[in-house]
């Protein structure tokens, strides 16, 4: 809001899917209509890593410095950096000026937005986040993506298919053998379900469906049914799950500080959601993850090492592990093991 004489004028900001400040406009003449020729105050276009385009749209702006990722651009003393909450970001080189407070072992501690700045934003400077929600991708009629919902192993919502198999066969090549030797499975869109109507997108493979839809769903809501489904059809594609979506209600800092185990010089413990840390209300968590190794990084914050969803026998000897594994395999059917990576951190209690 700006003061114009005795009046206050609202300035409106149009932000994109990453929270970037793209357009600022105001109803300067108070006629209730925005005139694009005179009432657009500022327009910002960015290179992917946040450097602002120069040489066109030279509008005066209103001095509001919150731009890329909705964060303050510091141009005093020629610094030209963004002041995110915990770190400073230099859009000219697409790198942070200091290390990541939460190290992700797959990336350099200076790399930004997990090297994917059109999907992730990072206004905190500590962890990438996305603004695209599952509902945007999953069930948006008319968007050309899909008009179906698939939850807990049951197909619901607008559907033209009679069964899950028909749905799957129409969306990807469902684990069918390559009988004609063309290197591709022989399932696919000629399944026995009714043909799709309208303009739904058909994914060529589970991998493509997974990349475009499932991974986004799994990130924040990875159910036991999802875990088995992905084991059966996922062909080993790794899954990334947001660590903060897991329940660590009674895991305390005290427990880490008593532990003599270290991971990269930080205290670590293994929680067994099926055994010693079993709690009825998180049975599903136990069935998916079993045990997870957690690392305490200070300030009531934990991170987790990658887990594996696997029912492969290890050697031929009879051990407790192989007995458990065999039981798991019987219940879950044939599948391919996959890694579960945990994104971000979670908070725990002190005591």
């Amino acid at each position: 809001m700006k003061k114009d004489g005795t009046n206050y004028i609202y300035h409106y900001i149009y932000r994109d899917h990453l929270g970037n400040n793209r357009l600022v406009y105001a109803d300067l003449d108070g006629n209730g209509v925005i005139n694009p020729a005179t009432e657009i105050i500022e327009e910002n276009n960015y290179y992917p890593f946040g450097l602002k385009h120069q040489g066109y749209n030279n509008l005066p702006g209103d001095g509001y410095k919150y731009k890329y990722n909705g964060k303050e651009y510091e141009d005093n003393f020629g610094l030209n950096i963004y002041e995110m909450d915990l770190r400073q970001y230099d859009p000219a080189i697409g790198r942070w000026t200091v290390m990541d407070p939460i190290t992700h072992h797959d990336y350099s501690p200076y790399s930004a937005f997990d090297n994917n700045p059109v999907y992730w934003s990072d206004p905190s400077g500590a962890d990438s986040q996305k603004y695209i929600t599952l509902s945007d991708l999953w069930n948006k009629a008319g968007s050309g993506i899909t008009t179906y919902t698939f939850e807990n192993g049951v197909l619901t919502g607008e559907s033209h298919f009679k069964s899950l198999e028909a749905f799957l066969q129409n969306f990807f090549e469902i684990a069918t053998p390559d009988t004609d030797g063309d290197g591709e499975g022989d399932g696919g869109s000629d399944g026995n379900g009714d043909p799709g109507k309208g303009n739904q997108t058909k994914y060529k493979s589970y991998g493509e469906w997974y990349q475009k839809v499932l991974q986004h769903k799994f990130l924040n809501n990875f159910s036991f049914e999802d875990a088995i489904f992905h084991y059966n059809y996922g062909k080993g594609e790794p899954v990334t799950v947001n660590l903060s979506t897991l329940n660590f209600d009674d895991i305390t800092v005290e427990r880490f500080l008593k532990s003599k185990r270290r991971y990269q010089d930080h205290p670590s413990i293994t929680v067994n959601f099926l055994g010693s840390d079993y709690k009825g209300y998180r049975k599903e968590q136990g069935l998916i993850y079993g045990n997870i190794t957690l690392v305490y990084i200070g300030n009531n914050t934990i991170m987790a090492l990658p887990d594996q969803y696997n029912f492969e026998m290890h050697g031929s000897k009879i051990s407790m592990r192989n007995i458990l594994t065999a039981m798991g395999g019987i219940f879950n059917g044939y599948g391919t093991p996959y890694h579960i990576y945990f994104q971000g951190t979670a908070k725990i209690k002190t005591k």
Binding site: R262, N291, Q308, L324, P337
Partner: protein, 122 residues
């Protein structure tokens, strides 16, 4: 019949646990040139396992002399660390190895006389 099956199952489990302990202690001895005996009751073994992974944690109490000997004989392997956690600082010596399926970590804290050997197996 069920009882017989259960007995056999438990026997196999017990045997495999004993073997596990011996195997891990042998490996530890091989890594840092020690001579620990898996039958030594002071050595504590804890295991967490699920369908996919097995995490074994072995704690060995040491005398001051043993601690000194291990660290001086394995100077090149152990790395000194100081980690600031909240208001305290953790100090110790660690030795980590990692490959695709197994990660091993040995930790000896500066101010305590015990060694922790952890094996993460996926």
């Amino acid at each position: 019949m069920k009882k017989v099956a259960l007995f056999i199952l438990l026997s196999f489990t017990l045997i495999s646990c004993v073997n596990e302990k011996k195997r891990h202690i042998d490996r530890l001895n091989q890594l840092i040139g020690t001579n620990f005996d898996y039958k030594d009751e002071r050595i504590i073994i804890e295991q967490e396992q699920d369908f996919s992974s097995l995490i074994t944690s072995i704690t060995v109490p040491l005398t001051s002399l043993e601690k000194q000997q291990i660290l001086s004989n394995n100077k090149r392997l152990f790395r000194y660390y100081e980690t600031k956690i909240d208001s305290s600082v953790l100090k110790g010596f660690s030795y980590d190895m990692e490959n695709e399926r197994v990660r091993e970590s040995i930790n000896i804290e500066k101010d305590s006389n015990s060694l922790n050997y952890t094996v993460y197996k996926n």
